[in-house]
């Protein structure tokens, strides 16, 4: 036998076995019209490895970040090597609204409540607005407007959050304060949530437009053939049919909102004692006080204080624990919403 073939694929049909030869001749054209070169096959194998490596890298990164946050975060709750600072109990951290690190009070409930409030408010505005705009673009707008609005939304998605923050700080805050609050400061949840909503609306619009456009036209025909109006078709058939994808759109908006720091930090007022302040003041209705008391969130406190605390101190360690909490909260919300979507869809 001369040169052994490199691989089975390249092996010529064995000439010494006539039965096998005829079989091969029947099933394959003698000269295959198209054949992968060795180079292509090599590239194929390598690209497979490359994708695998990228995937593993991402998993490792996520795991690494989680580990890093956890490793530093536990320092607040148990003595680590070289840490002589105060050790906290879970109760005084997670179940207390009292935040005054300089006198040893480390209750982070105000930040958790702040994050949930501002995110919740932002979604309350952004989800309906985004979904309805999606309906409008996908189903009602004339062709040229559809193209225009899609492009505008895609552009808006890419605007850095600091820009929204500056706009909020320089334009919205003074305007709200002058127009509605007789010049008392406007910083707080209302303006923060509004800025946040504007920030995430383009994401929700973009994704819900896709959701509506991917629905088959036959659904709308089916509905209208039964005597529904166009709006009834949208309300009773299209929106329910798109619900899983609308939920995904909202969750992605939520993900962006809950992790946002820069934009909110500039307009929220950064006041960790907001719950106490809100309780004390009596000059307005509770809802207005809630909306316009300077407050703080997990993210704003992180960016605010991380540079100012000494590494290894309880305060600093606790900030990492707050980072971890933010991470877990986001995960939890996404998982819960996924499950909800799947159940509703079943």
């Amino acid at each position: 036998m001369p040169d052994a073939p490199d691989s089975l694929l390249e092996a010529p049909p064995c000439a010494s076995d006539p039965a096998q030869e005829s079989l091969v001749l029947e099933s394959l054209p003698k000269e295959p019209a198209f054949r992968h070169s060795r180079l292509q096959r090599l590239a194929d194998r390598w690209s497979h490895l490359l994708f695998l490596a990228c995937g593993l890298l991402v998993v490792a990164l996520i795991g690494g970040i989680l580990y890093f946050l956890a490793a530093r975060g536990v320092g607040a709750f148990m003595p680590l090597a070289g840490n002589t600072d105060k050790i906290l109990t879970l109760k005084e951290v997670f179940l207390s609204t009292d935040w005054d690190p300089n006198s040893g009070k480390f209750g982070i409930l105000p930040f958790i409540a702040g994050s949930l409030s501002v995110t919740g408010l932002a979604l309350l505005i952004a989800a309906p607005a985004g979904i309805l705009t999606g309906v409008f673009i996908a189903k009602l707008a004339p062709g040229w407007m559809k193209t225009l609005m899609r492009q505008v939304m895609d552009l808006l998605v890419g605007i850095p959050s600091v820009v929204y923050g500056i706009f909020g700080l320089m334009v919205v805050l003074p305007w709200v304060s002058g127009k509605w609050l007789s010049d008392s400061p406007a910083a707080g949840f209302a303006v923060s949530a509004a800025i946040l909503a504007v920030m995430i609306v383009p994401t929700i619009v973009s994704l819900s437009t896709d959701a509506f456009e991917s629905l088959p036209l036959t659904l709308e025909e089916g509905s209208q053939a039964l005597g529904s109006t166009r709006w009834q078709a949208i309300w009773h058939v299209l929106i329910p049919a798109a619900r899983p994808r609308l939920l995904t759109a909202t969750v992605l908006g939520l993900g962006r909102a809950i992790g946002e720091a820069m934009a909110i930090q500039m307009v929220i007022g950064n006041n960790p004692q907001w719950i106490a302040l809100m309780r004390q003041s009596t000059d307005q209705t509770p809802i207005l006080r809630f909306l316009f008391t300077p407050a703080a969130t997990l993210t704003t406190e992180l960016v605010q204080e991380l540079p100012n605390t000494a590494a290894g101190s309880t305060w600093n360690n606790l900030l990492f624990a707050m980072g971890l909490l933010l991470y877990l909260m986001t995960m939890l919300i996404i998982l819960a919403t996924r499950r909800l979507g799947r159940q509703r869809n079943a």
């Binding site: 036959t218 025909e221 089916g222 509905s223 209208q224 039964l226 005597g227």
Partner: protein, 260 residues
């Protein structure tokens, strides 16, 4: 079935005169004129792409949902012009129901699919709705298969079941006219037979226009048959005459499969 010996006693329900139909600039139907009688079954036959579905959709103006179309000539329901008369398309569609060529159930439960139309018209009473749903599902020969899983999603049904669900959905709103576009193309012989029985039963108080590629079916269920070719009406007459003594050579060729 109506025979040449008995004179037509039913009034004209739908009338079409010199109707042209265009998708954009493309002319799909050309100079159609015909009458469809109340409480009769009219079958539309013809080769694929000759405009049968398009013609059917003219009666409930449903193509306006998805395409830019132009209709000229006259189409009337009970003497009222469908396109220019005092009737708007929503009212029209409540009176003229349709079963589409491809089944299009809503991604809702089986029950909700059938209850959809009645709910639109403000029907809220649970017991009445239950009754309507059961009745419609029985008529479309689906009840026995689905009565224990009314809450399950309709999109998980087989193609033939979906088609019968769409028939039930259309019947639940009690239309005056029912347009059926190849309703049996995805059905097995048993379900087909049931639907054909249903059609015969329904025409007691309903006008039915059915598109079919199944000549035996047209012969079995219809009183009148119209033969379309390339957007033109070649011939329309009593089914019995069309299948025994057609006037046009083309009709005969088509029916005997010698078409080319």
């Amino acid at each position: 079935m109506l025979s040449p010996q008995t004179p037509e006693t039913k009034p004209v329900k739908l009338s079409v005169r010199n109707m042209d139909f265009r998708y954009g600039e493309k002319k799909v139907l050309d100079g159609l004129s015909l009458d469809i009688h109340a409480e009769r079954v009219t079958a539309i036959i013809g080769p694929s792409g000759c405009g049968k579905s398009t013609f059917l959709k003219c009666f409930n103006r449903i193509h306006e949902v998805s395409s830019a179309v132009k209709v000229s000539g006259d189409m009337q329901i009970d003497g009222v012009d469908i396109y220019r008369g005092g009737i708007d398309e929503v009212d029209l569609r409540r009176r003229v129901g349709m079963v589409f060529q491809k089944p299009n159930p809503f991604p809702k439960s089986i029950y909700e699919n059938v209850a959809f139309g009645p709910r639109l018209f403000g029907m809220k009473d649970k017991a009445t709705l239950d009754g309507i749903v059961e009745d419609a599902l029985r008529k479309s020969a689906l009840w026995d298969e689905v009565k224990d899983r009314l809450k399950e999603s309709a999109t998980g049904m087989s193609g033939g079941q979906q088609q019968r669900l769409c028939i039930a959905r259309a019947l639940a709103v009690n239309p005056e006219v029912l347009l059926m576009d190849e309703p049996c193309s995805a059905l097995d012989p048993i379900a087909t037979a049931k639907i054909e029985e249903l059609i015969v039963e329904l025409k007691e108080n309903l006008t039915i226009v059915i598109v079919t590629h199944n000549m035996q079916q047209a012969a079995r269920v219809s009183d009148y048959t119209a033969f379309f070719w390339l957007g033109k009406l070649i011939e329309m007459d009593l089914t019995e005459r069309i299948f025994t003594t057609p006037r046009e050579r083309m009709t005969e060729d088509y029916l005997t499969g010698r078409f080319g």
